[in-house]
């Protein structure tokens, strides 16, 4: 099996686009959360959203036509282009049949469904345009990346909801380490949608004023959007071309709660098994872990259960391992979230600094870990876990490590 390096980071998020801007703003505790702008939220009891602002898809989509693809695909192509540029690779020097795409999402292109219903309401079903069905299915997101960049290798979407980014990066890692691909573009993308917003609103899950993961007074999550794509390649290839290596992928673990479609298992059963499987596959133990990027949505239940899961698995060490949630700044970017968080983990390993959980004020006795409150911290982590949990009881933990030449 080959070792797998992360050599390119591209992302577009509610706090900005591109590795440098993202990391500066993240460490400064910037917030991407504001009043929803992409639709009228006045009928809702809540109004916060974490949207990508001032996005001009034409800046990134050069071959395809932006009007022939949904926003999820546009965001994904933007992240892919930035990632390729960040890695310094020349795609033309690769056998394109060995360059693939592995993406994750929660809803794919939900705005195509919105348009379907808008047209149906205004003009009736017969007015539904012919591009609805070809543009809607979520496999078009990686397919658009493949077309845009001329990639002929494996191409798939793993729509495992809010844990999807980790699943997709994990699959990309599998293809590289087994030698089935020479280069993988792996990550996640999701577009802001009134459907998602309506769903979380009706579940009473959206925070009314701010996102405060792990705080005693936390009142919910904030739906968001974005995309991240990581370049994965064999470590030996990265070394040979003198590439910047942000981090190494050591392994990942996945599990299913088999308990409830939306609520986490009360004891964190699946979350524990996913973390344990990630560590086992990475040949690491709990004593090696220096940082955890939490799923940390800000809902009362998620944060309590995640804390219980970490405490159960790490035992006495739990309080010593810093664990922060960047969703406090970015909101919950759905299927993109764990891919964006994997970028943050890579940068933490590369720079030695871990991002904070902002808006943290009042400790919760049920969440008794070190959440890196409000300020970034230099800890020089060597091994990190990236947690992601999702509807359907899906859990995925990714284990990354600092690369030491």
């Amino acid at each position: 099996m080959k070792r797998v390096a992360i050599t390119g980071l591209g992302l577009i998020t509610p706090i900005g686009a591109g590795r440098k801007v993202f990391w500066e703003r993240l460490l400064a505790g910037a917030s991407g959360i504001a009043t929803v702008a992409s639709f009228d939220s006045s009928a809702f009891p809540v109004h916060l959203g974490a949207e990508v602002k001032e996005f001009d898809p034409k800046q990134f989509v050069r071959l395809g036509k932006t009007e022939e693809m949904g926003r999820g695909s546009q965001l994904a192509i933007a992240a892919a282009r930035m990632s390729i540029e960040d890695s310094g690779i020349e795609l033309s020097s690769y056998d394109s049949g060995r360059v693939g795409v592995s993406m994750g999402t929660t809803s794919g292109e939900p705005r195509l469904v919105e348009r379907y219903n808008d047209v149906r309401k205004a003009d009736g079903l017969e007015a539904i345009p012919g591009d609805f069905l070809p543009q809607y299915p979520c496999n078009v997101i990686p397919s658009h990346i493949a077309v845009e960049f001329g990639l002929h290798g494996p191409c798939m979407m793993i729509p495992t909801a809010c844990a999807a980014g980790n699943y997709a990066i994990g699959y990309g890692y599998d293809l590289i380490r087994t030698g089935r691909a020479d280069l993988m573009l792996a990550g996640g993308a999701d577009a802001f949608s009134r459907i998602t917003y309506q769903g979380f609103s009706r579940l009473g899950a959206i925070a009314p004023e701010r996102c405060q993961p792990f705080d005693k007074n936390r009142k919910g999550m904030v739906p968001g959007e974005g995309a991240a794509v990581l370049i994965l390649e064999p470590l030996e290839d990265a070394r040979a071309r003198g590439a910047k290596i942000y981090a190494e992928v050591l392994g990942y673990g996945v599990s299913c709660d088999s308990h409830h479609m939306t609520a986490a298992h009360p004891k964190g059963d699946g979350a524990i098994r996913a973390m344990a499987m990630a560590l086992e596959g990475s040949r690491k133990t709990i004593t090696d872990v220096d940082y955890i990027s939490a799923h940390g949505t800000g809902t009362p239940t998620n944060d309590r259960v995640e804390s219980i899961a970490v405490r159960t698995l790490f035992g006495d060490r739990a309080g010593e391992v810093p664990m922060s949630s960047i969703k406090s700044m970015l909101g919950h970017t759905m299927g993109a979230a764990s891919a964006i968080e994997a970028v943050a983990c890579s940068l933490a390993l590369d720079t030695g600094v871990i991002p904070p959980t902002v808006n943290y004020e009042t400790p919760d006795p049920e969440c008794d870990l070190d959440y890196v409150p409000n300020h970034a911290r230099t800890t020089n982590p060597r091994v990190v876990l990236n947690n992601a949990y999702a509807f359907g009881g899906n859990n995925a933990s990714l284990c990354l490590a600092r690369y030491e030449a």
């Binding site: 809607y136 397919s143 290798g153 979380f200 299913c256 098994r273 499987m277």
Partner: protein, 401 residues
């Protein structure tokens, strides 16, 4: 660690039959599931699962919250778990090493559209929050995990019409890596008013309401639905349980055309590459393929592309290798069609007989298609799954002796 992955159970529900026996009987009788729709009114034609009664397998409880896609996969997974002897029904907690890999394109397309429509017409504060979980694409797999206590990996795979084959390969890899002991793998797709209308609007529906794969006068496809799953295990694990598996999941190949996300690439380079990769991964030569299960569904460009890919790989051998295009029987199942075709390939290999292509009369291409079953002798069958989003996959099944 055994690297061989074998089939130890089958679950299927389709327009031509529910359960492996009925499905096989329907296929081999040359019957077609293409016919009058019960869902979309008089004069409409589909290859939908008709008279679907999930309570026959699942009992009456807990069905209300499941949409059609979830019901379909809950039924197929029930069948495959029972056949494999791995049902968790009597277990207090499910086995953490038992999981599900589900190929699909839409998940519950009708659920997400209805949820949005309710908000649009009644206001966002009156929609039923219980319907929200059904809007995510992995909801069928999530429901099946809860219903059948599947606590291992639960992945949903979307690779267009190649989803089912990608899911089977993904599951086989997870088993080889030792990340699970047994995995259900295949696909599900529901027919709904949105996909039915959308398919017609995109110009993919057959004007004559029939599927005539490879025919000179083919004019499009008819949508089908259903679910098909295999239970996969490593051969060592299966033998340790006292089983003697006969079907092995062999080599897999995949390639993207990188040409369009909505039109088949008739240059057929991706499809050709996928088949060649599958042969190479199986370490076999084209002449060892005894039967081909085609992805052809009557699409003018899609069938042409596949015919060219087959010609590229097999050349004159095509005069001898029986080809079956079973979508003429179970319709174009989109995300489940690769899994349906995989099951058809498995049945063909065990029977040593390529199933009839329902209603076959003539082909524009020199392929050995027939309206009758075509006996063969051999150990390897090729299954194709190609889609207009540019994704192409091919899988080889091996007969264990």
């Amino acid at each position: 660690m055994s690297s061989r992955v074998v089939v130890t159970g089958t679950g299927v529900i389709s327009s031509i039959g529910a359960g492996a026996d009925d499905f096989e009987r329907g296929l081999n009788a040359g019957t077609t599931g293409v016919g009058p729709s019960q869902m979309f009114g008089a004069g409409t034609t589909t290859a939908e699962v008709r008279d679907f009664a999930p309570q026959n397998w699942l009992g009456p409880k807990g069905l209300r919250v499941l949409d059609r896609s979830a019901r379909l996969i809950c039924v197929s997974s029930h069948m495959a778990l029972c056949e494999a002897g791995l049902s968790q029904a009597d277990a207090e907690e499910g086995d953490p090493d038992l999981g599900l890999i589900c190929g699909t394109m839409f998940g519950g397309l009708h659920s997400i559209t209805s949820f949005d429509w309710s908000g649009l017409t009644e206001g966002p504060n009156l929609v039923n929050p219980m319907e929200f979980p059904n809007t995510v694409i992995n909801s069928p797999a999530g429901h099946a995990a809860i219903k059948h206590k599947l606590r291992g990996v639960n992945s949903t795979i979307c690779a267009g019409l190649a989803s089912g084959l990608y899911a089977i390969h993904y599951a086989a890899e997870f088993l080889r890596f030792g990340r699970a002991k047994a995995l259900l793998a295949g696909g599900v797709e529901e027919l709904c008013e949105e996909s039915f209308l959308g398919f017609r609007k995109m110009g993919a529906a057959s004007a004559s309401d029939s599927i005539r794969p490879f025919a000179a006068d083919r004019d499009g496809s008819v949508l089908g639905d259903g679910s098909a799953l295999w239970m996969l295990e490593t051969e060592d694990a299966a033998r340790a349980r006292g089983l003697t598996p006969v079907l092995e999941v062999g080599g897999f190949g995949s390639a993207h055309d990188a040409h369009s996300t909505s039109a088949f690439d008739v240059r057929a380079e991706g499809a050709t590459s996928a088949i060649r990769q599958a042969l190479a991964a199986s370490e076999i030569e084209p002449e060892q393929i005894a039967c081909i299960i085609s992805a052809a569904s009557g699409n003018r460009a899609g069938d042409l592309m596949e015919a060219r890919a087959l010609r590229n790989v097999f050349g004159d051998l095509l005069g001898e290798i029986p080809v079956s295009a079973p979508k003429a029987a179970f319709g174009e199942g989109l995300g489940v069609s690769g899994a349906f075709c995989a099951l058809a390939g498995g049945l063909a290999l065990v029977r040593q007989s390529a199933p009839p292509t329902a209603g076959f009369k003539e082909s524009e291409f020199r392929l050995r298609l027939s309206a009758e079953a075509q006996p063969f002798q051999g150990k390897h069958v090729l299954i194709n799954a190609f889609g207009c989003d540019g994704n192409n996959a091919a899988l080889i099944l091996n007969l264990r002796t």
